[in-house]
């Protein structure tokens, strides 16, 4: 009796162990099931590189290039801000900060990671958006730049925690060796520790930017949601994620618009898949 019970439990454990693979496959399958229908009427090339997104005109024009460029612009802006700050902060925490301050900083970073994106979006709307409007004398502060700044803030916890891990796991003897040769602390960091941790830092940056591409609510609230080809970083844009979130509520299940939004979901899923697998390879490389 006991043996049967254990057998059942162990099989259950195995099934649950495989559950995450099952769910990833299920997500992809259902995105394909709903999204591929859009390619009956439009070629994948026209879908990806079409320059106009007018989903409710007759016939609908479903080109997501403006949305891809919107996502790209916001992500590049966020990368520009968050990479130096995030990596710098990681170095400070891993190498320079005294033990007590280190704990406080880490808790602060965790705090930032925990703030819901809709709260950051709201704060961005009431503080950052008016500030951008006034500083650059724009008709509206809902711009790609506002989105980039807010998203940079959202990417930093990921970048800092993973990069800090990578720096921390560099063997102590490397640093001691550098010191023994008369290097200053900074020389040891710059010439020895950073290169040794580089693949982990690359992974950290990738995962942080992956989070930026997938971020939805804050971006929808502060980038202005104009589904046009982005002209400058000071103009409103519309990202891939925001398009889904803003338009899905108004579509009819089974309409072309509905299928197109799922096809955007496929694009996002593939981007996040590539980012995560590559980052995982980098992290794995470090362990070997």
């Amino acid at each position: 009796m006991r043996k049967i019970k254990e057998f059942v439990i162990e099989k259950l454990i195995l099934i649950c162990g495989l559950a995450s693979m099952f769910f990833v496959a299920l997500i992809f399958l259902f995105l394909l099931k709903e999204g591929l229908a859009v390619f009956k009427n439009a070629s994948p090339f026209k879908f990806l590189f079409g320059r106009s997104w007018y989903p409710i005109s007759e016939p609908p024009q479903l080109g997501i290039l403006p949305l891809i460029l919107g996502s790209l612009l916001v992500t590049l802006g966020a990368a520009f801000i968050s990479i130096p700050i995030g990596v710098g902060c990681a170095i400070y925490i891993a190498e320079i900060a005294p033990a007590k301050i280190k704990e406080i900083l880490k808790a602060g970073i965790e705090l930032l990671a925990a703030i819901p994106s809709v709260v950051l979006g709201f704060i961005g709307m009431v503080t950052l958006v008016p500030a951008v409007k006034n500083i650059f004398h724009l008709p509206t502060g809902l711009t790609a730049l506002s989105g980039s700044i807010m998203l940079a803030l959202m990417a930093t916890p990921t970048i800092v925690s993973i990069a800090e891990d990578a720096l921390y796991s560099v063997p102590r003897s490397y640093k001691e060796g550098a010191f023994a040769l008369g290097a200053t602390h900074w020389q040891a960091i710059w010439r020895v520790i950073l290169p040794a941790a580089s693949s982990g830092i690359v992974a950290a940056v990738m995962l942080g930017l992956g989070r930026v591409v997938g971020e939805t609510m804050a971006v929808m609230m502060i980038t202005g949601n104009a589904a046009v080809m982005p002209g400058s970083i000071l103009a409103p844009v519309r990202t891939l994620t925001a398009t889904i979130a803003a338009e899905m509520g108004e579509t009819v299940v089974g309409s072309e618009h509905y299928f197109a939004l799922f096809a955007i979901g496929i694009v996002l899923f593939i981007i996040s898949f590539i980012v995560n697998v590559t980052a995982d390879l980098f992290l794995h490389k470090r362990q070997q």
């Binding site: 925990a114 809709v118 200053t184 997938g214």
Partner: protein, 282 residues
């Protein structure tokens, strides 16, 4: 050659500056929300339904809705996540399958939240015909927090020293009994931490519930798991962007309640972890 110590001072100054550039905004955000949100909080705000087109009254249905959704998500995700963690820490070998499972977990954690919303819509709302309901929303959130629960629980299980298991085996105890009576009890604080972090994440996410459960405005409370509910994060989104002329106090109050809820859970998780580390005897 330049003085290396001067270069070091300059470099360290910039690293410190980078740290400040992260820490100061975080502090300011929390400060502004507390300062402007706290005065809006009173018993009526927490216990009343929204009135006058959500411009007055309270946010009780949204708070309750979020509690239902989070509870549903954890009921679904905790058993699966815990068993998956047990598989990874106790049963899996270092082979391709294990590597693939770990990769799947990383990917599941990286899927954009709005894609979870699409998935929940396609699978639970449309395919299983649950409609936009607490059930659909909870399951969607449950799958989303699965990686958090698996990863933290696995770490907790793996931190139990191997010698504990060896002693148990040497006494003739079976593998499952060892896990059940020796490994699990020692890993509970870590599992609890992961569960609470998952709860916090589920409470704060908006995009996955947009099309699977969240109601724009629903003054009555839900009667079954097939009803729609209001939810705090979606409510904050609605009153910030969709409804004009909402009093700033109501917005900040809602943001404060949501932030307080999420940060409180994170704080509890951090404290449990800290206490556990201090008490650890091995």
């Amino acid at each position: 050659m330049k003085n290396p110590y001067r270069a070091q001072n300059i470099a360290f100054f910039f690293l410190f500056l980078a740290t400040l550039l992260i820490v100061i905004p975080v502090g300011l955000i929390v400060l502004v929300i507390v300062q402007k949100g706290l005065p809006a909080i009173n018993w009526q705000f927490l216990s009343d339904i929204p009135r006058q087109g959500m411009r007055a009254g309270g946010i009780f249905p949204a708070i309750l809705g979020t509690i239902y959704l989070v509870a549903g998500a954890i009921i679904f995700a905790l058993p699966i996540g815990l068993l998956a963690a047990i598989y990874l820490s106790e049963y899996s070998r270092d082979n391709l399958l294990t590597r693939l499972i770990k990769l799947a977990i990383v990917n599941l954690a990286g899927v954009p939240s709005v894609v979870y919303g699409l998935f929940g819509l396609a699978l639970f709302v449309v395919f299983f015909k649950f409609g936009a309901s607490i059930l659909s929303g909870s399951l969607t959130l449950g799958i989303m927090i699965l990686p958090i629960i698996i990863t933290t629980s696995r770490e907790a299980l793996e931190s139990v020293p191997y010698s504990f298991r060896e002693v148990s085996f040497s006494l003739g105890v079976s593998k499952w009994q060892t896990i059940r009576h020796i490994v699990l009890p020692n890993a509970i604080p870590g599992i609890l931490t992961g569960t609470i972090l998952g709860l916090g994440r589920a409470a704060g996410e908006t995009a996955p519930i947009l099309f699977t459960v969240a109601a724009f405005y629903l003054p009555q409370l839900p009667h079954s798991i097939f009803d729609q509910v209001m939810a705090l994060p979606y409510h904050l989104y609605v009153i910030s962007t969709q409804v004009p002329n909402v009093d700033e106090k109501v917005r900040y109050g809602t943001a404060f309640v949501l932030l307080a809820l999420v940060l409180f859970m994170n704080l509890v998780a951090i404290i449990i972890r800290y206490q556990f580390r201090k008490k650890k005897k091995w």
